[in-house]
Amino acid sequence: MTSTACRVFRTAVCIAALLIATRAAAQAIPSEPLTFGDGRVVVSGDAAVAFAPKDDGFFNYSSYEQTTLRQVRFGMTAYVRLSDRFSVLGELRSENFEYVTPFALYARIRPLPNRRLDLQVGRIPPTFGSFSRRSYGHDNPLIGSPVAYQYLTSLRPDSVPADLDELVRMRGRGWLSAFSIGDRVGHPGVPLVSAFTWDTGLQLSTGWNMVTAAVGITNGTSSDPRVSDDNAGKQVSLRTTVTPTTGLIVGASIARGEFLDRHIRPLLSNPDAHDFDQRAAELDVEYSRDHWLARAELMRSEWTLPIGTAGAVMPLRSLATTFEGRYTFAPGWYGAARVEHLGFSQITTPTQTTEWEAPVTRTEVGIGYYVQRNLIAKTSLQFNRRDGGRITRSQLLAAQLLYWF
């Protein structure tokens, strides 16, 4: 057997064993959220176990330095309703038993109980984009995450290249990126929008009939959400959705925030001449009917960054396009597919003209099966292609078992 066949076989055996074990145990585990104090405290949880061969091309690595296709993840969410106007929500997540992260922790204030107006303060859900708020396993029909929310570019807020050649040399190495100005130790770069870390600040949301709107002011940016601010600037983000008819949701988001770490500016010859920020805009559409669900998203992000210390400034743009579909073909069974492309603007160095980061194309197809209402087994096949980096192509067969209550 070839090594690929071995991996496929091992993965299949793991899936089968896990399915048998979980099917037997499924009746003994809770299926509803736990409630205390007459419904004032509600606790839910989820667990996901994903198997896949080693991702040598680092296509699926997230900012936690782990691949999303090979991980054990636990999450627990608590909702505490202190009054009709005031509640607190918190969520803890752990990945591969290494991190326990306070993913969310915020107070929700509804000043007028009968009006759709909420103020959320703390570590809040992203105002920007659609996927960040449905990155939970049961809201994601596949195992992988969209490239716009997960794929790591080489950019870092605390490390910038000395010249364009250095930037180009880092193409396809976002999983461990380092430049010569600022922090020279390798760390993961940033995606366009992070689905795995939430930002800190406040958020105001409201809605009228078929329209919702939200505005957020946070410490970090869409690509680099933070607990504490690493520069003097705040990000302002806006999101609105319209539901013109049942099943059709059209959303749009914009965001702008200071990106560069405060430790970089003093190294520049003219530190206050520019705003070194991230600007992002996004448009998403979701339509569902009968057994179909289709989604499309277009996202543009632009980082304005110094190149070297002499005052050169370069806008670095990227454009992500995602199409996703899901079809329920039998009770408890569905098929899903996602096709996406992540492109980057071109730059001209003394030796070449090329994209500043290696474009990535990803196709993922998979099926899901409801072992029971809150226990889903998924398997998917992912094809990645990158126009740069050490490994340019990758096929990954993955399986995931997901449980929630």
Binding site: R108, H138, A214, G247, S288, R289, H291, P331, G332, W404
Partner: protein, 243 residues
């Protein structure tokens, strides 16, 4: 001759027309036939009633909406399903009860992100309608062994139907709203009753005999008893406690 003539005369006086005579003949014939029929068939058993109360001793929390930290605001309110309704049924039924009956129609609404009623009891062969009364999509489905189906997503004002042609318990869910769930209990015989809010139930027309009676509540058969309906029929009291 004189006697016969008098008899005919009396007959004619008593029944003035020929049609009256025919009516009398018919009535008499029917009466005789009825008497013969009654005399030849065995005596019908007197039917009984099993009645009582199901006490829900344990506090069952209504399933709350799963808390989601990713919401941009407070989710809309929903109706809390009534979890006080138990179902009492005969585990075994007289053979005559299994005779096929006319297909019936029942309804389970989707309103304020809640299935109403939370527990629906139907005869085998019943078609259940699932109308959507909310402004959002719902996607009713079940992966229960008794009946697997997926109705897909449909909007307000539309309804889809499912035939429940096998007896058993069918757990109903919405694929979009994970806090929505309900039960359809499908019976092959008519000897079942859904308890009232105060726990009282009543199963009528039970033939004399000894039966196993079960009390079901929220997905499980919680208590099982044996009861005898005497040959003379009458009411039999049987209470349950769901712990």
């Amino acid at each position: 001759m004189v006697v016969a003539s008098r008899a005919r005369s009396f007959w004619r006086r008593s029944f003035s027309t020929g049609s009256d005579v025919r009516r009398l003949y018919t009535t008499s014939l029917l009466a005789v036939l009825l008497l013969l029929t009654t005399a030849s068939s065995p005596a019908q058993p007197r039917l009984g009633t099993i009645r009582g109360r199901v006490e829900i001793a344990r506090v069952f929390q209504s399933p709350e909406r799963r808390p989601s930290a990713s919401d941009l605001g407070t989710p809309p309110p929903r109706e809390i399903p009534d979890l006080r309704r138990a179902v009492v049924y005969l585990e075994t039924a007289p053979a005559a009860a299994l005779e096929s009956r006319e297909p019936a129609r029942a309804r389970m609404d989707q309103r304020n992100e809640t299935f109403l009623p939370h527990v629906l009891t139907v005869d085998q062969g019943t078609i259940v309608d699932f109308p959507n009364n909310d402004t959002t999509y719902h996607n009713v489905f079940s992966i229960s062994k008794t009946r697997k189906f997926d109705l897909g997503r449909y909007a307000r004002g539309k309804s889809k139907a499912v035939l429940f042609d096998r007896p058993g318990v069918v757990r109903i869910f919405c694929d979009i709203h994970s806090h929505m769930s309900a039960f359809v209990l499908v019976f092959s015989h008519p000897y079942y009753a859904k308890a009232e809010v105060d726990g009282r139930y009543r199963i009528d027309n039970v033939p004399p005999g000894t039966y196993t009676v079960s009390a079901w509540h929220e997905g499980e058969t919680r208590d099982t008893r044996t009861v005898t309906v005497p040959p003379q029929g009458g009411d039999v009291d049987l209470d349950f406690v769901v712990q």
